[in-house]
């Protein structure tokens, strides 16, 4: 699946926007790669659609500076499946399998930026599932959060909540 996406990306990329192809929408990633998509795909991305609407459909090339050409094909793939009504448990499982923890975060940000509710909900669940059995330290590292408890405060809280610390996966330093 990943190969398919990348080959499709190559064929589409670096094609300068052509005013005659008004039927399609051009999404320009942060690293200046152009992805041509059907207007129905754009509709799934509220941010893109409202941009189109604001200009009465005159502008069909949308710069998406916050989204890389690495992440955009995943977003498009998800939207395509969503339109086709083919978001199945199997598809979601396959989709997620391809993504490492950093990529999940990047897509999460992209889904938020593009305002794709379904994808945002789905990725929320993915992140939640991935960190559910992780240690407190892992979560701090994953989100770059600094511990602002004093050692005494933390020790007290941990003691109080001791029952929730069973069954936590050992941290794997290479994982991230």
């Amino acid at each position: 699946m990943a190969e398919e996406v990348s080959s499709q990306m190559n064929s589409l990329s670096i094609s300068e926007t052509n005013p005659s192809s008004s039927a399609t929408i051009s999404l320009v990633s942060g690293d200046d790669i152009v992805f041509k998509v059907e207007p129905t795909i754009a509709k799934e991305m509220e941010t893109v659609q409202s941009f189109i609407d604001e200009t009465d459909g005159k502008i069909t090339t949308i710069p998406l500076p916050n989204i890389s050409s690495h992440d955009l094909p995943y977003v498009i793939e998800y939207c395509e499946k969503s339109i086709a009504g083919k978001i199945t448990k199997e598809f979601e499982a396959e989709f997620v399998k391809k993504l490492n923890n950093e990529e999940v975060k990047e897509l999460f940000l992209a889904a938020n930026y593009l305002n794709i509710k379904k994808l945002l909900d789905f990725l929320s669940q993915v992140i939640a599932d991935r960190i559910a059995n992780k240690s407190v330290e892992y979560v701090r590292r994953y989100f770059g959060i600094e511990n602002d408890f004093t050692p005494e405060e933390e020790a007290k809280l941990r003691e109080e909540l001791a029952w929730t610390f069973t069954g936590v996966d050992p941290d794997d330093e290479d994982e991230n």
Binding site: K105, N112, S124, E146
Partner: protein, 424 residues
């Protein structure tokens, strides 16, 4: 929704992707209870955010897709099934902290909270109290709502429910002489005026109201339900709205024109009130009230012969054999789990039968029975280390108590307790 307090300690310059606080708060409600409580240790703002009542409500909303149903066994273990996947997955088992709750039994569950009633008998008087327990957060209240019953002949029937407008929980007590409502927030009992209960059978809670059956226009001198002396018109369904504490009357289905020889029962299936009863000692019938209001709308949900139920009826053909009660529906609505309510201990062990308009899947039944049996013998398997208690501050306690449980939430709690797999 309140967001995490702005944090100066976030390090945006690290190589990992920076997720802003407001997006993290989007994700948090998707976590399980156990993980959430552990992650209160991440930092101060997570700690306060996760403990916030707004968040707790959000989490409840997120996790309450399909209701569980809960069974409690004699030795004090609570068994909870997700009706979504009741045959595919093992039930959730947790044992009540029996060293504390020796004399208490389950009244009901609502939003993941369990309501327990305790009784003690002193000089012919009964003293009763309630506790509210959230197995997912392991928080249990003190004894609340103390009741005295000087007349041991008049037993109480309790139902536990949630009152949306005031965001509090209530217990409705039905006795032979009156209806009383206990409000958790004020820790007070209130009598409902001009309300007399006759011959009430089990009451149920459904979407903000408590329903029970009543025989109208009759003076019954003892407890026995006697079908020979009543007509179908005398059987009515009464409900009390927990918000307003106003009583409503409902008619049974039009076609309910014969008084069953054992008392009919109320239950809730798929968020619909159900009336179930015997018909001519040959069939079991379930009616569903599709719409509750001025013109209550009933449809016949199931009519099945005892023969097709593969119910091994006792040859005595006694009343007990016919006291079936539907517990829940399977995901595809093709299977309903029934229980015999007469001998309580058999609810868990052996009295459970599965009914289906098609052939019941024998393998599924065996799986379920296996687990019911296992849970029956699971006393004290699950020890509670420390249980925070209600300290008198309702607001604070309530926010801790609110849901957090539901569906898969309890799975984490008992992951070590359920050992066998139902798939095998």
């Amino acid at each position: 929704m309140s967001l995490l307090t702005p944090s100066h300690s976030r390090n945006a310059s690290t190589s990992t992707t920076f997720v802003p606080d407001e997006l993290i708060t989007e994700m948090l409600p998707y976590l399980t209870v156990k993980a959430l409580i552990r992650f209160r240790c991440v930092c101060k703002s997570w700690n306060s955010f996760i403990s916030d009542p707004t968040f707790v409500k959000l989490h409840l909303h997120r996790s309450s897709q399909k209701a569980n149903f809960t069974l409690v066994s004699f030795n004090g273990s609570v068994v909870s099934f997700t009706s979504l996947r009741m045959f595919e997955n093992p039930p959730i088992v947790s044992t009540l902290p029996t060293y504390q709750l020796r004399d208490e039994e389950l009244v009901g569950s609502c939003n993941g909270l369990l309501c327990l009633v305790g009784r003690s008998y002193v000089d012919g008087n009964t003293e009763m109290w309630f506790r509210f327990w959230n197995p997912a957060t392991r928080i249990i209240s003190q004894r609340l709502g103390l009741l005295h019953n000087n007349n041991v002949v008049f037993s109480f029937h309790f139902t536990f429910g949630y009152c949306k407008s005031t965001n509090t929980y209530k217990v409705v007590a039905l006795t032979r002489t009156n209806v009383r409502v206990f409000t958790l927030q004020d820790n007070t009992w209130r009598d409902i005026p001009n309300c007399y209960v006759t011959c009430s059978s089990s009451a149920v809670y459904m979407s903000g109201s408590v329903f029970w059956l009543e025989i109208t226009n009759i003076y019954v001198t003892d407890y026995e339900y006697d079908y020979k002396i009543i007509t179908p018109k005398q059987i009515a369904i009464i409900s009390i709205d927990l918000d307003s504490e106003i009583l409503y009357g409902h008619h049974p289905p039009e076609d309910f024109n014969e008084v069953p020889f054992v008392a009919p029962n109320l239950s809730v299936l798929e968020d619909c009130l159900c009336l179930s009863h015997d018909s001519k000692r040959t069939h079991f019938v379930i009616w569903q009230m599709k719409e509750c209001g001025v013109d209550d709308c009933w449809t016949q949900f199931l009519k099945i012969s005892y023969h097709n139920l593969q119910l091994q009826l006792n040859y005595r053909f006694s009343v007990e054999d016919f006291r079936l009660l539907p517990l829940c529906l399977s995901e595809k609505n093709d299977t309903v789990l029934l229980t015999n309510i007469f001998i309580e201990v058999e609810i868990l062990g052996y009295g459970s039968v599965l009914a289906s308009s098609k052939r019941p899947d024998q393998r599924k039944i065996e799986n379920l029975k296996k687990f019911l049996r296992m849970t029956d013998s699971s006393s004290n398997k699950f020890m509670q280390p420390t249980i925070p208690k209600f300290d008198g501050f309702y607001e604070y306690w309530a926010k801790l108590m609110e849901n957090f449980l539901r569906s898969k939430e309890m799975w984490n709690l008992v992951e070590d307790e359920v050992t066998a797999s139902p798939q095998n």
